[in-house]
Symmetry: C2
Subunit: 253 residues, 2 copies
């Protein structure tokens, strides 16, 4: 991509995935991809992601590094009822704030659970750093929370998705980021030189080249991305003209 | 998890995923999970992962932050023939080394391509920082490379996997990391208090709690992980005794 990019004027975001299970390989993360798509659709540029273990200092360092740098930070994981759920305390530590039982969070859980089922473990899920606002959890009541530009969400994908959907509407949206792709049976090295020339003529766009293999034949997807829809169409027409020299029927997308 | 963990004595690693396509949501990364499993099996503790865009400064900063801190760094992506493949130059910049055409890499590509097909774009894939050693690519010839503790691999999963498999044998292996799980129809908040007591009695182990939903019923996988196999068996027996109070037939794994 081109380092001076019009997309840079959009609000930026980072994702912080918290969880040993991702780093041990037990769990394949699918939250990042969902968040990435959702932010892109809404004109927020996801600029970085980090994955850290369930260790307080690691979470604190990552949150503090990222929140200084990007418009929004989205965390996933570690807000459940068990001993390994240390995200609320870590975010509190990152902001230098005490962690308190949030009265509205308690009210939500009191509505969701019967009185005898509102155990101390479940009440752990009402704890947020002082001054945090709650993020709605329509699936299982226990809320996420927001403090300044940091949005703290569950790790369970269905719950994370519901939380993010409710949060996205409130974000500052940049110009929508569009993309068009041309994908055909041609090795990327065959089109690389001409592609570089096209990319140089459209410095306001990202033009990415992604090789693939299908039926033992090499192909490449050439993806043009940015906020300038007319330029994207023009660059894509040039890329199409380049690819059809090698594959008369490329896929457009 | 417990912050003072015997697993900490193992060699450590970080993964750096380089690619706009992951951050835009176009591509679901599957490389991290493969690397995580492979390292865990070989007693290398994956301690952090970062995902950065195709921007030189971002790659340089991340490489330099991570390589100081962990035993090994594995990067994926950005070593192909196109204009957006800037990993070799970025790693060179991170180490303050010029990027040169590696004679052995050229010889590999000369063997793989006919002379007229060895285009300038393909020759880009022979460029590595001075003093780097090559990493074999049995699938499509263009090699990865290693410099000090940084291993630079392709982003295409099949190629990355082949490269990693050849590299892993040469790493310093820590004690093997084992894990056992008990998974049953019980909400994690129901077992949280007793689970915390078990976790406190086994400070040398990580005990993780991962909720799931199946057929509209809540369940939890309780995973015990560490290098002390006898302690893992003992803790898992306690966890099993806890879970069968709620689900007589938990799955063991």
């Amino acid at each position: 991509m081109n380092e001076s990019n019009s997309v840079l004027t959009a609000p930026t975001a980072a994702v912080l995935i918290i969880g040993n299970e991702i780093l041990s390989g037990r769990t394949q993360d699918i939250n990042l991809n969902y968040i990435a798509k959702k932010l892109t659709t809404n004109g927020v540029r996801l600029a970085e992601a980090r994955i850290v273990p369930d260790i307080t200092n690691e979470i604190v360092s990552a949150v503090n590094a990222l929140r200084q740098r990007y418009t929004y930070i989205f965390t996933t994981g570690g807000i459940g009822p068990t001993h390994d759920d240390i995200t609320a305390d870590s975010i509190g530590a990152a902001f230098g704030l005490p962690v308190i039982e949030h009265p509205a969070a308690r009210a939500l859980l009191e509505k969701y659970y019967t009185k005898e089922n509102l155990t101390p473990a479940r009440l752990r899920m009402t704890r947020v750093p002082e001054t945090a606002a709650l993020i709605d959890n329509p699936l299982s009541a226990a809320p996420g929370f927001q403090i300044e530009n940091v949005y703290v969400m569950a790790g369970v994908p269905a719950i994370m998705q519901a939380m993010l959907d409710s949060v996205v509407a409130k974000l500052r949206h940049g110009p929508a980021i569009h993309s068009l792709s041309v994908s055909g049976y041609v090795a990327e090295s065959v089109v690389a030189a001409e592609l570089a020339e096209i990319a140089a003529r459209y410095p306001q766009l990202d033009i990415g080249s992604y090789p693939w293999v299908k039926n033992a034949r090499y192909g490449t997807a050439l993806v043009t991305r940015g906020t300038d829809a007319a330029a994207i169409r023009a660059a894509t027409a040039e890329i199409h003209a380049l690819v059809i020299k090698h594959d008369p029927h490329p896929e457009m997308g």
